[in-house]
């Protein structure tokens, strides 16, 4: 395995574009090193992006935020304004692993690992986040939901890497939330995850995005679930339709972490609970 520490994204792209064999980018390394150690993936070339200027920065951008590729979960949690505007995204990231893992793990790593159970991904999609992808042909903007294509798979081409995550402007009367179900209180992979981002007009929901994790080969943006609560005041009837829509969207597997039946049921439960938190947060920001 070769280990490289390019000083710029252009150098990183060049290394990756010309690499032979398996290439992996190293930011927090909390998935890459586990896979290396377990002989699941031993890259031929490992490109550590942390020496590139600006990769650890969280900066204001068009009223929203630009989060560098190597910003850790801990650094996001320690950023009061980001936390205030996008609590759902920050808490989703914060749920990944231990305090120790938070010291290293990144949003982009969580996204590119391609796990349908990745905690931060539903929250980013609900928030309407996009990533900037840099490659041999320049830079392109890609919505987060277009990156994962299946378990362990992404739409990134050879030589391409993500250099930042972009969160839109929060805007007025909005709130987001992410909940996941795990059997313990910490340290597990989501059995089901659900993110809700919504906006209020008065006490009525005017916009909403509901996203489920760990219930299909990729994270699901569930439009029926959003439709169930748009126009409502999140009353019991709306919540029941929301839960039913969330459960109906599920296409999960039976595995060591949960059964099809369990995941399908809990997706509905979490959708209701996450929606209530997001609703409350949106109201609180009025």
């Amino acid at each position: 395995m070769q280990y490289h520490t390019p000083g710029s994204f252009d150098d990183a792209v060049e290394l990756a574009a010309n690499a032979e064999g398996i290439t992996r980018f190293l930011a927090g390394g909390t998935d890459v090193l586990v896979q290396l150690r377990a002989d699941i993936v031993t890259p031929d070339i490992l490109i550590d992006v942390k020496k590139i200027a600006g990769v650890r920065d969280i900066t204001r951008e068009d009223g929203g935020w630009r989060i560098g590729v190597a910003v850790s979960g801990a650094e996001m949690s320690e950023h009061p304004l980001l936390q205030k505007e996008w609590p759902g995204v920050v808490e989703a990231m914060d749920l990944i692993g231990s305090t120790q893992v938070q010291g290293r793990a990144t949003l982009v790593g969580n996204l590119c690992n391609g796990s349908p159970a990745a905690d931060s991904v539903p929250a980013m999609i609900a928030a309407g986040a996009w990533v900037s992808v840099i490659g041999p042909d320049g830079t392109r903007k890609v919505p987060v939901e277009d990156i994962p294509t299946g378990p362990g798979q992404t739409s990134l081409a050879k030589g391409e890497l993500i250099n930042a995550v972009h969160l839109p402007e929060r805007g007025a009367n909005g709130g987001d939330a992410y909940l996941r179900f795990i059997p313990r209180t910490e340290m597990d992979i989501a059995v089901v995850g659900c993110a809700v981002n919504l906006r209020l007009d008065g006490d009525k929901i005017s916009e909403a995005r509901v996203v489920l994790g760990a219930v299909a080969p990729t994270v699901l943006l569930v439009e029926d679930a959003a439709a169930a609560i748009i126009g409502s005041t999140l009353d019991e009837a709306a919540l029941e339709i929301l839960a039913a829509a969330a459960s109906a969207a599920c296409n999960p597997i039976d595995d060591k972490r949960g059964t099809i039946k369990f995941r399908t049921h809990v997706a509905g439960v979490l959708a209701k609970r996450a929606a209530k938190i997001a609703y409350e947060r949106a109201g609180a920001s009025v």
Binding site: Y3, V34, R37, Q100, G103, E186, M187
Partner: protein
């Protein structure tokens, strides 16, 4: 296989080593620098026995390459005491019997020291969640949590 030359600082000492690019910081600390206080319990970042701080950030040394330590400042359990004077956490862990077998103890001490530096007045719940990535199989955590809470109270009084 080409080895990588790394210059870093561990517990205040400048050190250099050569490592295989696949070797973790944990491998390097133990096998190259003879700092065996840092333990491997899982190698997957799930147990916390290998906890160290890198530039004052708490991490699992099994989830970081040795090569990534270039230019960093690493602190391990061997760097917690001040010469022959134990850190208050170390004293309290002995007094409270907050360890039985002791294999998780180095990681827990490194992690709790980092916690108290960030938050000198944590609640019991905060201590429990901060330490969720440090598995202990002997104690049921009871005496560990009590030792941490009591150390924090003592340190607040002393400061």
């Amino acid at each position: 296989m080409s080895m990588i030359h790394v210059t870093t600082n561990v517990n205040g000492d400048d050190v250099e080593f050569l490592c295989d690019p696949r070797e973790t910081l944990l491998d390097v600390l133990r096998d190259k620098l003879a700092l065996t206080g840092t333990k491997e319990g899982c190698g997957t970042g799930d147990c916390g026995a290998c906890s160290v701080t890198v530039d004052d950030r708490l991490v699992c040394s099994c989830l970081m390459l040795g090569a990534e330590a270039e230019g960093k400042s690493v602190t391990t359990v061997e760097g917690i005491a001040d010469g022959e004077n134990l850190h208050p956490l170390q004293e309290k862990f002995i007094e409270y019997a907050a360890l039985q077998c002791g294999i998780c103890t180095p990681g827990i001490l490194v992690a709790t020291k980092a916690l108290l530096e960030k938050n000198p007045d944590p609640t019991e719940t905060q201590v429990r969640y901060w330490l969720a990535g440090n598995l202990c199989r002997c104690t049921g955590y009871d005496k560990i949590i009590r030792a941490v809470m009591d150390t924090a109270a003592d340190m607040r009084k002393a400061s």
